[in-house]
Structure formats: C-alpha cells, structure tokens
Amino acid sequence: MASVSKEFKVKWGMVIDVDKCTGCGACMVACQAENNIAPVTDASDKRRSLNWLLVYELSNGKAYPEHEVAYLPRPCQQCGSYPCASVCPVVATDKNEEGGIVSQVPSRCIGCRYCMAACPYHARYFNWFDPVWPSGMDKIITPDVSVRPRGVVEKCSFCHHRFMQAKDRARVAGKDVYDLEDGEYITACTETCPNGAIAFGDLLNEKHRVYHLSRSKYAFRLLERLGTEPQVYYLSKREWVRRQGDNYLQNEPTPVKG
C-alpha cells in the first residue's frame, strides 16, 4: 500500500452531512443516470448488481424510544493514499491527475479484481453483464461517459467528465482552469440531493464551502485510522454516527477534532 499520500494543488472533495440525509436515494438514481449504469434484469441480486454510489442505513442499535437511524451515502472515497491503484497490475487505475481523482480506465482494465479486494470501502464493482438499455432509454446515455463492457471493474469518478467540461468552460472564458469557482464543478449527486446534504468543491481552496465544512469539529472520515486519507468527509452532530465511521473498542472514547 502506498504509504505516502499524494499531494495536489487542487483536491476535489465531498462533504456529506449525514444529519441532513433522509435516505431518499435520489443521489443514487442521479448517479446511475449520469454515469450510464444500465438497469440489470435482477437488481435484487446484490452480488451481481452495481452502484457507484450506495446509501447505507446505520442504526444506533437501541430499542424503541431511543432508537435512531442515519443514512450514509458512500461514493468512491478518492483516497489520498490509495490501496486500489497500488495493487493494479496494469495501471488501469491511478491517481496522478491534478485534482486528485482516482482514475479508472475501463479499456485498460483486465478484470482481475485485485482493486476490489484492496478497497476497504467496497466502492468498486465488477461488471458482470454487458449493458443493455430498454429501447428508448438508450437516448439518455451521457455522451461524455463511456459505456463499460462486461468483465471490467468500475467505480465512482466524481463525475470526472463534469470536471473536464468545467475546465473547458473556464478555458473559453479565459480563466484559470485550476482556480474554478465554488459550484462550477459539482457531481450529479451533489446537484440532485433535494436536502442539500452533499457539498462538493476544492478542499484546499478557502473560497470553497467544503474547505470549511471538512475542518468542522463534527467532520469525520470512514476508517480514518487505516491512513487512506479519503477525500470524502462526513458530518454529524450525533456521536454514535461518528463512532460508526471507524472500529472503536467499546470503552474507547471517540476522538475529538481540533
């Protein structure tokens, strides 16, 4: 595993407010439509279906009056220290482009699935079937996202094509492509969330909302102690939710941020 986290001038990141998430699943639908994920015949077969973004249900495990649930959307965490790319035998996945998005090149992927085994977040999926769209639905295919054949691994790309489009827009306007304004590049899930639970932007740019949100004392990342340095942060004022972000011993206190 790459032990040193790669640094960039621009680091695209997401901050998801778990307390605002109602678990409606609109983000999953938006993701599916935006990224050309074809419907499968039997989506109830979870071993063979795929979602780039998946909403998990969390529970505090207590009985009725104290019972609470929370919903946690999980995109690719775009780790700074990426366990997936270091095991890829063919460099189909890497993190070397300004912005720090972990790439996934389906035409290069040989489907060995090492990366899936290496990913601690189960953010990677194997494509078991050639995509088939019901007639008429193929008209909504996003042109800037390639359609993946069966036999390759795929994952959330932070809607990378929207990043390229935002850069092109900036170029034509004569602006610096590495100093995009807040909101000029956002993912489909961010745009769709009806409750505004997802914020997206440059984690290193003070003018972006995520810069401040990710430094909140309620912010946490998943399995932080593995040292993967994810670029996805979660927010919750509820301690039990923050506690579920990592594996704590029963009597271990939840770490408190700065």
Partner: protein
C-alpha cells in the same frame, strides 16, 4: 586441399540457397504488409456531400463554421440550417451544390458527415484545450499565427483543397485511417515542453473516460 575447397563451395551454395529465398520472402512480406494489406483493409467511403473547402474559405473564416461555444464545447460541423443561410438558393452551377440543395436543404435534414478524426467512445478530446487562444495564453507557439496553423498539426490540411479528403474506413474496426492514435496524442502530451509547462497532462484520466 581439394576437399576443403569443395566444402567451401558447398557452404557458399548453401548460403545462397538459404538467403535468396529469405530475401525474396522478406520483400514479398513487406509488399504485402505495406501495400496490399492496407489496400484490402481500408475501403474508400464517399462523403454524403461533395463538399469542398476552397470556395468557402475564400468567403468565410474557419470559425464561421468550426467554433467553440461559450460552454466550452466544440461546434464541429455546421448544421444544414447554417449552410442554408447561403444555400437557400444556388450560389453556382455545380452539380454537387444542386444535389446538396435538393436533398438536404429542401429535404430539411442533416447530412451524415463522416469525421476523419472520430475517436472511440473511451477517449475524451477537447478542442478548447487545443485552441489557438489556449496555446497563446501559455505564451508559447508564436509561430502559430492563425487557428488554421494549429488545426493542421492534427488534421489533414483541408482548407485549400478543392476536393474532399478521401475517407478511408478500416473494414475491421469501422474507424477511419486518419483518426489519431494514442501515441500521436502522446507525442505532444508526453513531450517535456508540454508536460510541465502547460496543462497538458499525461494522466490516463485526461484523455480517457
């Protein structure tokens, strides 16, 4: 002595007997590989309209037909409506034009143009990044005076041609023979003059989607 000489002659004969077929075979293979095979592999497909650049570049700028939209996307080939602004009625006497007006302008349909450069679904290309403005913003390439000088680093020079560039389709893949291969993109992108000086990035995700 006598025996030895015989042996030497035998070896010489052996060499010529072995080398000659080899050379003939090599030449045959090269002829087949470089001349015959491409002839079989590629077939010429005519463009839907016998469009010539030359009469147009006399009266218009390239950017009148090929321009970047405000949102950064590239308006590649003009629509029939744009062409019809002139070709509502015939501009000359040529048959090509009459046929064009008859079929597409009066028929109100788009011509199914064949794009020489068409890339596969998994490659991403941006004209905004390769525009003259983008080039000049970096302060490089003072040698490019007009947009056209830049276009022809990737495209065949069509502007002065008075006949369409023949479109050769690969019978196996369906792609044209003048589509850019990855190594041709790399010639610029992996070039140290671009790699650290500009935003030309050699990360896979720059060009793949």
């Amino acid at each position: 002595m006598e025996e030895k000489r015989n042996k030497a002659a035998g070896i010489g004969g052996l060499i010529s007997a072995a080398v000659l077929p080899f050379i003939i075979g090599l030449i045959l293979a090269l002829v087949i590989g470089w001349w015959a095979f491409p002839l079989v592999l590629f077939k010429e497909v005519p463009q839907p309209v016998a469009f010539k650049h030359s009469p147009h570049s006399e009266v218009m700028e390239c950017a009148d037909c090929h321009f970047l939209r405000e949102d950064g996307s590239f308006s590649g080939i003009p629509t029939t409506a744009e062409c019809a602004s002139c070709h509502e009625s015939a501009q000359g006497e040529s048959r090509a034009e009459a046929e064009y007006i008859e079929k597409y302008v009066n028929g109100e349909q788009e011509a199914p143009w064949l794009v020489h450069q068409k890339q596969p679904d998994n490659a991403f290309f941006s004209h905004a990044a390769h525009s003259l403005e983008s080039c000049q913003q970096m302060g490089c390439h003072a040698d490019y005076e007009k947009a056209e000088d830049l276009c022809i680093t990737c495209h065949p020079s069509t502007a002065d041609l008075d006949k369409p560039v023949p479109y050769l389709e690969n019978r196996l893949t369906g792609y044209s023979n003048s589509t850019m291969k990855m190594w041709e993109c790399e010639r610029c992108h992996a070039n140290p003059n671009h790699l650290d000086m500009t935003n030309a990035n050699n990360a896979c995700y720059t060009c793949h989607k």
